[in-house]
Structure formats: C-alpha cells, structure tokens
Symmetry: C2
Subunit: 251 residues, 2 copies
C-alpha cells in the first residue's frame, strides 16, 4: 500500500492545521456523493503519479468527468480540505478521500464462482492495488477444485464458514450462474459476510444490514439499446406509429 507521504511543503501554513475540534467525519454523506468519491480518488492518484502537487476544483472535476460545482459540494461533505484562492493539495485530499471510503485499510474478499467471469475477476489487478485482498477463490464444481490461478488455488465451497471467520471477510463477490446465486448468498451471509457484489443476473434477497450491489452486463446493454432506439426514432422523425402487433402471445 502506498503510504500517504505528503510533500506538504508547497503550501505553507495551509488551512488544514485548523484546530481538530469537532471535525469528526459527518454522519451523512449522500449516496450519490459516495458513489463519486472513488472516481475522485482515481483522478487524484493519476495527478499524484504525474507529480502534480496542487489542483483546482475545475481541474479535478474535468479529470473526474463531473462539473466543478458538484465536485466542490461533494468534497464539502468530507470537510474543508481545500484552500480558497489556491485549490486542493493532491496528496492530502487523496489521503482524506481514501480514509473516508475506507481503503486505507485492507479488505479481505472472497470470490465465489470461478467460471469465465470469476477467472477475470481473480486476475484483475485493480483489486489488490486499491485495498482489496482476495483471500479465497471458491467453486462448487469438483472438476475445478485445486486448479491453480495465479498464486491461489480454487477451494471447495464448503470451506466458506471457516474462511470467513478466520480472515474476517466482510465482502463477498458472487460470480456464479444465476440459479446458484441465492444459495451462495445465503451461505455467505450466514457465515458473516455483510457486503455482497453480485455479478449473477438475478435479484438477491438479504436480511437488513447486508448491502448488495449488482453488476449486470446485459442490463447495461439494454439501457444503451433503449437510448439507441430513441436516437433512431428521433432521426426518422415522421416514421412514427410502430404500433403493437396484437397476437404476439406464443401459447
């Protein structure tokens, strides 16, 4: 993990030294903002890699693909980490966002379902580099058991309870076929996992207190298709009235 060693010399006497009274992390960052913080973090890392010490909200917003008013408002939920007339210290802001998200610590993760997608996830370097450590790859298929994948071998799904307990796993990734997803989810939750990233194309039922985020490729494509269709209809203009074919029922 990269230590947040800040070359905090360029901005002398920054407003950061303000008395640390009651600057406790606020209790209500809007979801929309939370979803953008990782984007800002990545933009800051890029700037950092280019040895840029300071940036304005305008520059950072451009790099993150949002407008600057939104960026400033988002950052204001974390606290006042900028300096008026100057901008933001890249290293400092980067650390603050990382801390707020929670990626200054290490999050052990299990991946369940090592098919095509599971393989890709297991090999994805972006996990490790961003505070996530894969502690196990699980699959129920005996044929895949023991298969080596990088520096890790595939284990049976039965180990899950002991694994979660031993490594304090809080986050599970489901990359199984849809039919297996709910069962896997129940096992994970039962074992103590409280956050799930679901790649299986199905709705997961979980008890209160468990967070689920889903990534669904075909849904994303369908949303694009909808807009694409609108574009063509708009172009064709006069060609309206697609009209419903009445007897489409298959039975």
């Amino acid at each position: 993990m990269t230590s947040p060693r800040s070359t905090r010399s360029s901005t002398p006497d920054q407003g950061v030294s303000r008395s640390a009274s009651a600057r406790v992390p606020e209790r209500g960052i809007p979801e929309a903002t939370v979803a953008r913080l990782p984007v800002y973090l990545r933009a800051l890392i890029t700037l950092s890699d280019r040895a840029i010490a300071t940036c304005s909200s305008e520059e950072l917003a451009t790099a993150a693909g949002v407008n600057s008013a939104k960026l400033r408002k988002d950052l204001s939920y974390l606290g006042s980490y900028g300096t008026r007339g100057v901008g933001y210290d890249v290293e400092y802001l980067r650390y603050q966002i990382a801390r707020e998200i929670g990626v200054t610590q290490d999050w052990p993760v299990v991946i369940v379902g090592i098919g095509n997608l599971g393989h890709a996830l297991a090999n994805y370097s972006g996990f490790r580099s961003r505070g996530f450590r894969i502690v196990a790859l699980l699959d129920s298929d005996p044929a895949r058991l023991g298969e080596k994948l990088g520096d890790m071998s595939i284990r049976g799904f039965d180990d899950i309870e002991s694994l979660v307990d031993e490594h304090h796993v809080a986050i599970g990734v489901i990359a199984t076929p849809a039919v297996a997803a709910q069962d896997v989810c129940d096992r994970l939750v039962g074992a103590g996992v409280t956050s799930i990233l679901n790649f299986a194309p199905t709705v997961l039922n979980v008890p209160d207190g468990v967070d689920v985020r889903k990534v669904d490729l075909s849904i994303e494509l369908q949303i694009l298709a909808y807009h694409e269709q609108r574009k063509s209809l708009a172009l064709d203009g006069a060609m309206d009235l697609v009209d419903v074919p009445v007897g489409m029922e298959t039975a």
Copy 2:
C-alpha cells in the same frame, strides 16, 4: 427494503386482456425507470418460463426487488397495460417492455480488448439471449490475432471502420486496459458507434449524442467498503471522535 422472504403465493388464474388501441410510446421515460425496465423484463421472463400467465404488481415487484408502488408508476410511463382487479398478463407485458427497451430487434455489438475480461464477455451467453449479437472481437495485440474463441476469431483493431459500417454496429464494448480506452473510444465513435459500454477504469470523453455507461469493479467494491466501514463504526458506538489526524504528514 422489502421483506427478505420470497412468498411463493402465486395466483394461477386466467385472464388475457389486451385492448390493442394505438398506444404510442411516450416521449419521456425517466432514466431511473429505464434502468429498472430490464429488471422487470427478466422477472417476467422467469415467470413466463414457469408458465405463469398473470401476475399482480405486488408479485412482480417482489420478483424484481422493488416496491409495488414504484413498479406501477414505472409501468404507467409505458401505458396502461394492466387490468384493475386482475393484474398484468405476463406475456403481453413482457412483449411491451421488450419493445420499449428495443430488444425485440437485434443489436450488433463489437467487443474491443480480449484480455481476461474480454474473454468472459465473449463467452457470456446472456448477450445473445437478450437481443445482442457479437459481430466481432477486436484486439491490438498481434499475439492474440486469429485466436479462436467459440465460433469467432479475434481480429485486428484496424478492421473497425469497415466492420462498424458493414454490420451497422451502434454499440461498442471496451474491455481494454485504461491507457488504451480513450483511443479505442475515439476510433469507435469515429467509425459511427454511438453507444459505449466501458469496462476500463477511466473516464471517457465523448461528443454529444454518444452515450457511455461504465462498469467499474473496483468502484463498486469501494462503495461497499465505505458502508462496511460505517457499519463497524456504528457498532463501536461510543468510539466516536475518530478525529482527523492533524499531523498526518509523515515529515
């Protein structure tokens, strides 16, 4: 959220009703609704596979993981496809949603970047079964050129313009490393692609009229991490005042 229980109470009753009056697709479906339509469609397909002919908004909402008021409002944007006192005809509603999204027609798609993730996408059966047809797999790496993948072989990235033109490709999927993504995007857009699904962890700049949706695994995990962190803090309760390490500067 909704009740974690899956009530299997089905009302197997008959009742097909369709008034084929001219129901022109309205010109303004909210984005939030568009994003949920594919979920409803999948739920309907599941019901259809189980030979269920009719369902209430409550049942469909449960299957889709939303509450019934939201579902009814969403569906009302498409038209009045239900029958009061009865519910929705599964086949009929399924067709209406599919038509509204645009998946009754066939969408040719190109995938660029056939690494780990690209392989998984190319093999994903969910594309074909939902109205999307992969017409080409492109990669710039000469070592991968010609490699067979299912019934399709990997082609060079230079073919892109002719491919897009020949197959009328409107949707492109980018699964390249981050550094290559913007260039690939520019080439795709230049060739005529107007919708892009981006898996590369980077912000894409596109001209007006081009839609981009991004799928970013590490962002999803970071969002989960944020909430996970909050949960632990909440548990510790009294342990407030994490307080900003004022002197986080290591120097």
